[in-house]
Subunit: 329 residues, 2 copies
Amino acid sequence: MKKFLNSVDTILSESLAGFASAHSDLVTLDPSGKFIRRNELKPGKVALISGGGSGHEPLHGGFVGFGMLDAACPGQVFTSPTPDQMMEAVAAVDSGAGALFIVKNYEGDVMNFDMGAEMAEGDVLQVITNDDIAVKDSTYTTGRRGVAGTLVVEKVLGAAAEQGLDLAALKALGDEVNGNARSFGVALTSCTVPAAGKPTFDIGEQDMEFGVGIHGEPGRRRDKMRPADDIAEEICGAIIEDMGAASGKPSLLFVNGFGGTPSMELYLMYNSARRIFEQHGITIARSLVGSYVTSLDMAGCSITLVGLDDKTLSYWDAPVHTPGLRWGM
Amino acid sequence: MKKFLNSVDTILSESLAGFASAHSDLVTLDPSGKFIRRNELKPGKVALISGGGSGHEPLHGGFVGFGMLDAACPGQVFTSPTPDQMMEAVAAVDSGAGALFIVKNYEGDVMNFDMGAEMAEGDVLQVITNDDIAVKDSTYTTGRRGVAGTLVVEKVLGAAAEQGLDLAALKALGDEVNGNARSFGVALTSCTVPAAGKPTFDIGEQDMEFGVGIHGEPGRRRDKMRPADDIAEEICGAIIEDMGAASGKPSLLFVNGFGGTPSMELYLMYNSARRIFEQHGITIARSLVGSYVTSLDMAGCSITLVGLDDKTLSYWDAPVHTPGLRWGM
């Protein structure tokens, strides 16, 4: 394993310190190290809190700021944050309107966010994201996994919270956006967890993991590498099939890199996916291409399609100012 | 080699098509495929044009837009664009105030941009960037290589051009910013050029290339992996030594990923570099952390320090709206 680190025990704390220092105009790392919080809270706004295992940056800490999250709780690499992290984050950023947790569907995360919600003062509701259509259940998951679509839920809810939606309405909107989001990923290499010191899985020189999860969990099958168009055809086909009657909405197409795949390949996949979706009558109204929901250094990408309506489009377009996503201000 | 592609012959054109389609609100790929141009030109503004071999994305095409470049000419992967590309880009975006080329110091680029300038109608001046202090000469270079500092030159000049500086003043400002920029990179793995199909160089499981260029060119030496703090100490020390009497200015610290290194490690390196520079009395006034000047899928990073004054700080802070860099609007 070759990584820029001093010790596997301190990689997270040193990285968080650097992150907080580079973005001190926007966010603060709580002295406890338990959460990253937005510097300027908006009184009366519902607090949005997410988190999960580290290694998916910029998700979630990179999305703390105006128009997105109020706090993010980073666990160790690919390890759920503990309930006290979420409890203390609520205490720090809930200004009285309640808190909404945005939680990717993994057993550890769901359990610990549940406990955090019980321990927290004030009203807490939760949105569980499960946009990964590749598999029904997975290594760490009952039901579908929460992956790149989580970014879209965080962005839309962030804008809606800034505009004054209450806790119950935000919970309903989050469930709606998650329900309209479908993702599917493919890995060309494994990631390497620093504490493990070796790749999470072995994969042949000509193979890919089709339907991989963002921790390197198995997908639908191990497959031989194929041309990008073939890969995109199968992924987009699976997404369209899963959408069923919901197809036809103007949509956000989000091609997400897992960390080790360069921009040139992501735009090539975008080009292919867009053509395929458009051939199926889907209007690509908005686009996002980049490495936003990563899996450490894994080479690979995922394709996410989210059906939008006028309301969610306007929330997507609303100004956002976070370390990882910024527009309109 | 495992990459998302259909054919090595079409990877660039397909990727550019995807890029232009994802960012059609900002940029257009000329039908010839020879350059990416800004949709909305500002009459009377000096045209800023850059380019170079592809594989360094988002540099340069990702920096076309308001407050940065008017056009970028993409060569094949790690291959200079041809003079006709620059000539036609000038014809498309020079609205009468002349054009400034921003060229990274590689022999092929310098030669072809020179010829492009001769062939172009209207006034053309050039800024050659050579911020890489790691080596004196290199494989493709007489003198220092132009690397990540180029982004800073493009951003500062972009803002200054929007504010009405004339061609001669922009040329002088570009030379000044380049002269205040110092970069140094280290690679943990090689990149793989699609047309070659195999890594550009071999590197051992415990080795790093210290002082690497952004095409995988050799640096100062092959070295054993060391803790991040040791690597940062030597890089920052080399930068400080090179600065000499210029040290003490408020500075921009830019930690740049080469494509295969995750955000967690980049922020850890930032944390280390910032501490070291501050110990040497350097004030870090601005920060940028991310994979902006890449080398395909190479794992590694570079550290860039740019001394700034009130004028260049205000140009850095000025609004920018491009696919790859955006703030203030």
